[in-house]
Amino acid sequence: MSAVERFAAPRSLEEALEILRAGEVTVLAGGTDLMPQSHSGKLPLARVLMSVRRVPELQGIAETEGTIRIGAATTIRELRASSLVRGRLPILWQACDRFASDQVRNAATIGGNVCNASPAGDTLVPLLVLDAQVVLVSKPDGAMQVRRLPIAEFFLGPGRTRRRPGELLAAIEVPAPPAGFVSEFYKFGTRPALDISAISIGFGAVRERGVLRAVRVALGAVAPTPIRAARAEAALEGAAPDEQALAAATAAALEAIHPIADVRASDWYRRELVRNMLPRVVRRACED
């Protein structure tokens, strides 16, 4: 028997934040994580179930002055269908293309994926590579407050983020990648999409005359949160992606990860996948 007493469907951000401020609210976006989690008892529903689907401020994908803003309630389907995303943020597009299934993509939202904070969450590794920021809004005492955090600081652990109880994730902001930016997303699986990844790898860098700059290496499902592998990035920074640099980067990545063993994979195998696939991912990104 559920404890939900009220279903709210606010039509503005103000209204949503008012409801949220009053407390005891479970936020509902696409529902594709929330529904199974509430059924399994993992996430009991609060007194008020609030759907944010109709809040216009949470919609839309737009580029303004070098920043691409993605509303938190944007569905994965919308991202996959967006020529802006495919053209400007291909690494994010790749993750959306590998996301679950058509039926799930039609309902699931990027905000939900981010707030669910699974270490294996498909969009999280690309957002780390893209240096995204989360835009959190609240109305603690009448006035709307906005807080931005680098996404790398947003995740605390499996299912846990820095979002405060009265806050709503309103948008993800991504700085438009510079010219010469190459990227690649790899999600381990035997299927194109419908897999929870045993590991995922994201790579991005600016290629200038054969040398990599502003290198980003992100890994999923190998630690309690998706992570950036700083020392792996350093090993490639300013270097050409040759065998030596890739070996150094891979060794550094292996140091950075703490994979667990679960029904999907052993920790040993996750390490082997990172070892074998990181060089392949970087090479694929650097192919013309």
Binding site: V4, F7, M35, L49, N106
Partner: protein, 167 residues
């Protein structure tokens, strides 16, 4: 008494009201409250597609959707689709291609195929396979399901042309 939410939505073209517990799924509402059993429960966690319906023209797993979220929307189930010319064409295509064995997964696949063909009337085989990647079938091995969708997609659909259906 446990709370209930009153919702109003268009179901298979008909304006419909229902009163549902807040945490009830759309799948449960369809099957248990509205008596429409064509949409199937096969996993309840969005992995198999047997519960596929169209919401505002897009396919979703009804087991993952809160019934309350149907409010104000257009819901199409297999019962509604099968009563249209496009649905009949799909049913015929699935039948003629041998794509039905036990049939339990079929309504979900027919719904998904309908959504695919509405968005992309002439999909390639690779696109069809990706489009149905979220629908599990244990009997057919998918080959004839793919063939059925190819057959349903070939040639102009008089129903589409005449009705100018945008969905």
């Amino acid at each position: 008494m446990p709370a209930r939410i009153d919702i109003e939505f268009t179901l298979n073209g008909v304006r419909t009201r229902a009163s549902v517990p807040p945490a009830m799924s759309t799948l449960a509402m369809l099957r248990e409250v509205l008596g429409l059993t064509g949409t199937k429960y096969a996993c309840g966690e969005g992995e198999c597609g047997a519960c596929t319906i169209l919401v505002d023209g897009r396919s979703v797993n009804s087991c993952l959707m809160f019934a309350a979220e149907c409010d104000g929307r257009e819901i199409l189930t297999i019962e509604g689709l099968a009563a249209t010319e496009r649905g009949e064409r799909l049913v015929r295509a699935f039948t003629d291609a041998g794509a039905v064995q036990c049939g339990f997964c079929t309504p979900g696949l027919v719904m998904q195929a309908s959504a695919l063909l509405a968005a992309d009337p002439q999909p390639s085989e690779a696109e069809i396979r990706r489009a149905i990647e979220g629908n599990l079938c244990r009997c057919t091995g998918y080959r004839k399901i793919i063939d059925a969708i190819v057959a349903a997609s070939s040639g102009p659909d008089p129903a589409l042309a005449a009705a100018g259906e945008g969905q």
